[in-house]
Symmetry: C2
Subunit: 365 residues, 2 copies
């Protein structure tokens, strides 16, 4: 049973508003349904991805938008929640339990996840920027990566965000000098090397092969895989050269898709910190280990055309969904100002907590 993504929706990422998490989720679902050829009665699954504490959230949202799905639940997997929800939706369709599953990721700006309180091995250094700075320092020393390389990643993604009206930094332009001269947060990472937690919502609709015929441009999930290596940086690796969960998940997704990294036309990468995009280039296999800094000069694959987490903001439970949404729009030719030419195959890279878990999704026209 093949599984396609046929429809998607993202609402503008913002600072905290007065809307509740269920109101925000409902807005995106109503918008998706209004644009899509699916009927409410056909939607037989709803998964809500969120770090919100609201109990019974998926059923509350179901009721608000008028769905009565065969299956509904909330999932929470920190920054990796969104693609965990998509993997489960894929599984529900592949197994024949459902035919059309909506996955909605939603977050308030003040949702938890900005402190990794359980990672006691790092003492007071419990903010995610501290583990990212360890990876950055190692990459600098071992592979000659420099602050300039990080700044160029941040500049690229912020410029991409200027073409994405849903990005929180859509209206904000930054120069290379502003980025490389910004205040240091945890050396060598500076302010614009770090993503900005925000409020946001994004939805995708997954459907079975037989239901896909009623949609004009189904985008197929040809590879999807996750790897979970632990929950804290001290346990996942004996070196900081790369992120094992990304390597494992990518290898398996490429195996399923029978593709190689050079087949990818466009990729959304989990740039919670600029260094992570460079490391993702390497771990996914676009370039050799240590060569990440050379990749921004290449034209293929296009990376983080959405603006990345750096340019869009990071509504935790919604990020993996909006990354997927971007690839779907690009492969459908519906990405507006951000559209790249001849995009046939795309990749999503979504991860959590020091790279302790990663999901990779490969999508094809």
């Amino acid at each position: 049973m093949k599984v396609a993504i046929t429809s998607s929706d993202t609402q503008k990422f913002t600072k905290n508003t007065n809307y509740t998490v269920s109101e925000i989720a409902s807005r995106s679902i109503v918008s998706l349904l209004s644009k899509s050829k699916i009927q409410k009665a056909e939607v037989d699954g709803l998964i809500v991805s969120s770090n919100s504490f609201e109990p019974y959230l998926s059923n509350i949202v179901s009721e608000m938008v008028g769905l009565k799905p065969k299956f509904s639940t909330k999932v929470e997997n920190l920054c990796n929640s969104g693609t965990s929800g998509i993997l489960l939706a894929y599984s529900l369709i592949r197994s024949g339990i459902c035919k059309a599953v909506l996955v909605t990721g939603v977050e308030k700006q003040d949702s938890p996840g900005n402190k990794l309180i359980w990672d006691i091995s790092r003492g007071i250094y419990d903010m995610p920027v501290h583990w990212a700075s360890l990876y950055a320092n190692n990459h600098f020393q071992k592979f000659g990566t420099r602050e300039k390389d990080l700044a160029l990643i941040s500049l690229k993604n912020h410029r991409n965000a200027n073409k994405n009206p849903n990005a929180i930094f859509f209206d904000k332009t930054f120069t290379f000098s502003q980025i490389i001269g910004a205040v240091e947060v945890a050396a060598p990472l500076r302010k614009f090397d770090c993503c900005y937690p925000c409020e946001g919502v994004s939805s995708v609709l997954l459907v079975s092969e037989d239901l896909s015929v009623k949609f004009e441009q189904p985008i197929w999930i040809v590879g999807i895989s996750q790897s979970n290596q632990g929950a804290s940086i001290a346990t996942i690796t004996d070196n900081l050269d790369g992120i094992l969960s990304t390597r494992i998940a990518a290898k398996e997704a490429f195996r399923q898709a029978d593709l190689v990294p050079s087949d990818i036309d466009i990729a959304e990468l989990h740039d919670a910190f600029s260094i992570l995009e460079i490391i993702a280039y390497e771990d996914i296999g676009f370039v050799s280990k240590g060569d990440g800094k050379k990749m921004y000069k290449k034209h293929r694959p296009f990376t983080n055309k959405r603006g990345g987490l750096l340019g869009c903001g990071h509504p935790i439970g919604a990020t993996g969904i909006d990354q997927t949404n971007e690839i779907v729009l690009q492969l459908q030719g519906l990405a507006g100002q951000r559209q790249v030419a001849n995009a046939n195959i795309g990749l999503v890279h979504n991860m959590a907590a020091a790279g302790t878990s990663t999901t990779i999704i490969i999508l094809q026209k």
Copy 2:
């Protein structure tokens, strides 16, 4: 691809202890793995079912017990969380993504869920007992059910709990007079018509057909279905005779299993309130609508031999798992003092929030 449950574990339900939710979950997983023929490296999925607010809980638990699963997430679906997790695990195996998925339900006593704060249609009557009392009053008026009938359900389940060392009321005996004379909570429901929120953990291991050969007594999932009708009582029905989500889920599970209610030897029913067991008899189809009160005189199916939520306590995210655990043990002949004779087919009924959602699982030797 057939899916079996091969192993299970439940730890004693208690009042709140000083253990964290991840420590409690880990204890059950370590116990299950020590009793089971599965190797840690073979467990390629972990789903943690909980209403706890701990972020990234499933990966924290993975790390604590030494698992590195291909897939891991937390699910939350209020009182229906446990079987939502089992349905997802079933789906992950059926779809070929995983071969062995652990589902662990865990809850602290003070976890949320005792107030249905979003159900604004009920004003200050936001405790679950208030919707249960509506169902009870309707049943009394329409079908002649009486307080005695409720008390007999409570008595049966508390007596069953006296044979279940994991039940919170294992050591407590109650007489019919104590139950029917207990303080009124919301008429006609009295103290022992209501389940007791508690701390608890329960785990089941689901495996693929090919992996099942290494286990002695795989118990097969032959029907599994969920129905979600909303999130608040006012939206789910125009009468209070029964619970629509239970009727829909049961009908579909029996269809999948190619069985009828009279085939069921033993059932675990969601008796959060005594009246709900009577209504479940009817909605699942063991008896006709209105005849629930007659069923406790029957020998088949045996119901709530575990003690039910009334006798065991109700650790929200763990309840659906322990209900399933009980049926697995009974079909394996490993239910100790509670063992019923010649049990070949069992049913689990788990629901949430005024019966707005129900999951039904049918298991067969």
